[in-house]
């Protein structure tokens, strides 16, 4: 800027386009920011790497293969990949993206785009990790269908629809984690809130799998967690999780919606806030119902056929 330069104020700016398209425009910008977020880049690279490695390893075509020492490998573990990489990585990345956008402070607050529109754009950006997980999930599921695994104890127990629901649970984890990251950033401004939430989710998921029996309480403990394994293989003991996977899918959809509503409710006022609270109550109620149906319907959990505790025949 030189003192001699003439200001170019004569240029007539184009009129603003109004409220329409604001969310779309902001979503594009937030997607761009997410795609450049280092944590997200690493998470996607790790996800792609582990997914590819999983496809080419020697157990690729076996959902349950007895290994040395009596352990097993299971393709039903697949949802852990998007959940861990894209869900948790996306949580931290979107948490940072959200907090970064808030740094502009009063500049953002004095703009006509509302807090709801800004939060909605951030929530829509969370569809990116979910989309990546969905692509991988479709590939994995197609592979299962085209090239059925051998020794399919679990395949005998799960229908194609249930298997699709299991795959989609991993996709929902890749959506719910980032949505939770936005909500946490909106409501808790302290620097490590995103990381602490991620650790909390891991602990919740791990602790939910500690108990393994065939009771309703066991299924409740497992399925309450946002992410839980469908098949376990630890210390020579294999275990297939019971419950209704269609309803669990609905339960996870409910959790994702609750996270999005929580994110959008921050900074909302008046009628919009009342609408969001009503929506949260309705979705919350339906989510609890879906959890109850997940636990009370479907198959019970069981050990693998090579385990002395095997109960299904």
């Amino acid at each position: 800027m030189s003192a001699a330069s003439a200001p170019v104020l004569d240029a007539v700016p184009q009129p603003a386009a109004g409220a329409q398209g604001v969310v779309r425009t902001l979503t594009r910008i937030e997607v761009g920011r997410l795609l450049r977020q280092p944590v997200f880049i690493i998470a996607v690279l790790l996800f792609v790497l582990t997914a590819v490695m999983g496809s080419v390893n020697e157990y690729a075509n076996a959902d349950y293969v007895i290994t040395e020492g009596g352990g097993t490998e299971s393709n039903l573990d697949w949802p852990v990949l998007p959940a861990f990489m894209l869900g948790l990585g996306g949580l931290i990345a979107m948490n940072r993206v959200t907090k970064g956008a808030s740094r502009a402070g009063d500049v953002v607050l004095a703009a006509p785009a509302s807090a709801f529109q800004r939060s909605l754009a951030l929530c829509l950006a969370c569809l990116v990790p979910a989309g990546i997980a969905l692509l991988a999930g479709v590939f994995e599921f197609t592979r299962w269908m085209v090239d059925p695994p051998v020794q399919s104890m679990s395949w005998g127990e799960f229908t194609s629809g249930e298997l699709a629901a299991i795959v989609l649970q991993g996709v929902l984890a890749a959506l719910g984690g980032p949505l939770l990251g936005v909500a946490v950033a909106r409501w808790w401004r302290w620097p490590t809130a995103g990381a602490i939430t991620a650790v909390g989710l891991i602990l919740w998921s791990v602790l939910s799998g500690v108990v393994r029996d065939t009771s309703v309480w066991e299924r409740l403990l497992h399925h309450t967690a946002p992410f839980t394994l469908v098949a376990y293989n630890t210390e020579g003991v294999s275990w297939t999780q019971g419950g209704n996977h269609y309803w669990r899918f609905a339960y996870l959809v409910g959790l994702c919606l609750l996270a999005a509503i929580a994110a959008c409710a921050h900074g909302s006022t008046g009628e919009l806030r009342r609408t969001l609270v009503r929506a949260a109550l309705i979705v919350g109620g339906l989510t609890i119902l879906a959890l109850a149906l997940t636990v009370l319907t479907g198959q019970v959990g069981h050990y693998g056929p090579w385990d002395p505790r095997w109960t299904l025949s």
Partner: protein, 290 residues
Amino acid sequence: MSTTVTFTGVTRRHGKGIALDRVDVALEPGVTGLLGPNGAGKTTLLRLLATVLPPTEGRCRILGLDPDSSDDRIEIRRRLGYLPQEVGYPRGFTAFEFVDYVAALKEWSDRPGRHAEVRRVLDLVGMADLAGKKMRRLSGGQRRRVALAQSLIGSPELLILDEPTNGLDPEQRASLRGVLSSAGQRSTILLATHQTEDVAALCERVIVLDSGRIRYDGSVRDLVAQAAGRVWLADVESPNALSSWRTGTGRFRHVAMDAPQGVELAEPTLEDAYLLLRGGERDSVDMEVA
């Protein structure tokens, strides 16, 4: 001339403290300066104008609209530009991306039009050449100019600037004055600053705020005129002066409510008048308030 802003009996409390106390202000097109010591309530007044804060009491009309109404508030925001005292920047943004982001928040949804507008305002503040540079790599003055650029998006009818010349070198400040004086021909600009020379150079009118109350609201010329005969040069320091300092010539410049007889009077500046106004308040001496 149409009134852009009317504040009537506006009070803003922060906890038990009062940041603004029954303030009455009317702003019209042109550049109005806002002076006051730290903690005077300048930033609170600007935040109220920018609809970032609601008043605790009193009535506000901005651009003919009521900021208490949600729809009106959004409409006001469409038509104002705001440069806060401190602006944070999302990590990883370039100067262009930051201004583009704010333009999107200001509902510039059409991409080519938005980008053209972003280039225009960056050019206005002389940052066009550095548009692709990351914000974190820019100097403090350059960041300030980028922050100023975002406030100019859409040539707003009401421009609220909180210390816009902070961190700018003299050449940049001179250029900024050119931008603001041109903008002031069609917009209402409120310029809060500690730089009295910026107010003297740009503003016809000045408001002096202290302890949440307006101490002076009138023309710059009248305020400076009140300091006439109260600024003088002498070879020795005067203990009774409100303010005195040794100038580059080695002589002392004094500012006081009453100049001694027979001293060499100096041409007063806005800064002298401001110091007198502040000193007058401290000494409970009534100065004429326009």
